[in-house]
Point group: C2
Chain length 220, copies 2
């Protein structure tokens, strides 16, 4: 054994592991982790809601989501892409937001005729492509807001303390099973009001066979 | 440092790394690795070719593929799923095979109305679902053969020696970039006639943003 050389990185890994094991709360403190696939959807601002569904109209709840206060709305839109191809019945998620935004998987974007849409954290839409949105009362030309949402984990301070991470840190999510995949860039989105919850898009969920497996591990 | 405990697994990892570094051929021997997305496609047997395109008909080359002798054919099919939904212009890959087989991404399967298709290595179609295939000269009821192809790497003996793997071993493929993903179950398919080549499906390619990145690493 004396002849084995150990790199600095390996020593650091060992030390980190030992420190982590000694300081980590007991396993029973592991928060429940829900991993979900988000199908393509839109978020609307007040002004676009007015144009698309009528002045002063409100979203109505179709189904509550796991995150408190969030819901899938009964209202849907038609999205028209750059080559006049369209996606109908695009679900709107409520409540209304400051800016309208559309989240698509690459498969959706390609089927619409986009060569490329940027991978962004929700809300970070500066310089992203736009599209036309059509509702029962009117049409909105979205100047920007079309993104592929980066895979992310919603986390409250207790979860962040458990995992030893902070807002915007990048974690890994291992999904086991026949199509085992590790997502290496899962961004932490801290918020005191949220439940521990990974959101991936439908391409990611289909790639890893999310519906097939119960072997899931979130790692720093 | 004396107080750091090292697990047996960690010692084994270190030893393996050192042995590998000392015995590996020089970096210049690394074979060229091409990673490709396979869009949905069909393979046909002689009998089904006869039914779909006429007695004694042959596939014609639309585009040669990276693997010698393989090609995308000009001929395409219509695939009809369990809820009468269909995929038109399903590309056929040549040459003809012993058994007909259809390879779909989960996104395709779901859009067709399949709740589930099994993840299999090409050719392993026992007990998989079937479908209807429609060609210009007839219809074939495929009793089985619908699969999601498991991500795999075609490798010849030189490549296998380089990586220290054998037929049916499972490797990992790390794809870096904004949507960094590591595929943890890449099956080795050994054949003396092939070039080093990873095939993933469109869901997997879209999940990792394959078109975005040049950071790719195949690992034992």
């Amino acid at each position: 054994m004396a002849a084995v050389t150990i790199t600095r990185e390996e020593v650091e890994q060992l030390v980190r592991r030992i420190v982590r094991e000694r300081t980590r709360p007991s396993a029973s403190a592991l928060p429940t982790l829900l991993v979900e696939a988000s199908a393509r959807h839109a978020h609307l601002c007040r002004a676009d809601m007015d144009t698309l569904f009528g002045e002063g109209s409100e979203l109505t709840v179709f189904k509550d989501l796991y995150q408190p206060g969030n819901f899938a709305a009964k209202e849907t839109l038609t999205l028209i892409g750059p080559r006049s191809r369209l996606i109908s019945n695009l679900r709107i998620l409520g409540p209304l937001r400051k800016e309208s935004q559309v989240e698509l998987a690459f498969t959706d974007a390609i089927s619409l005729g986009f060569n490329d849409i940027p991978i962004r954290i929700s809300g970070d839409t500066e310089g992203t492509p736009g599209c036309l949105l059509m509702g029962p009362k009117g049409v909105v030309e979205l100047k920007q807001g079309l993104i592929r949402a980066a895979i992310h984990v919603h986390m409250n301070p207790a979860g962040a303390e458990y995992f030893g991470v902070k807002h915007k840190d990048v974690m890994r999510l291992r999904v086991g099973g026949a199509a085992g995949v590790t997502f290496d860039r899962v961004t932490v989105r801290m918020d005191p009001t949220v439940r521990l919850n990974v959101h991936m898009d439908t391409d990611e969920a289909n790639a890893c066979g999310l519906h097939y497996t119960k072997e899931i591990e979130l790692m720093k």
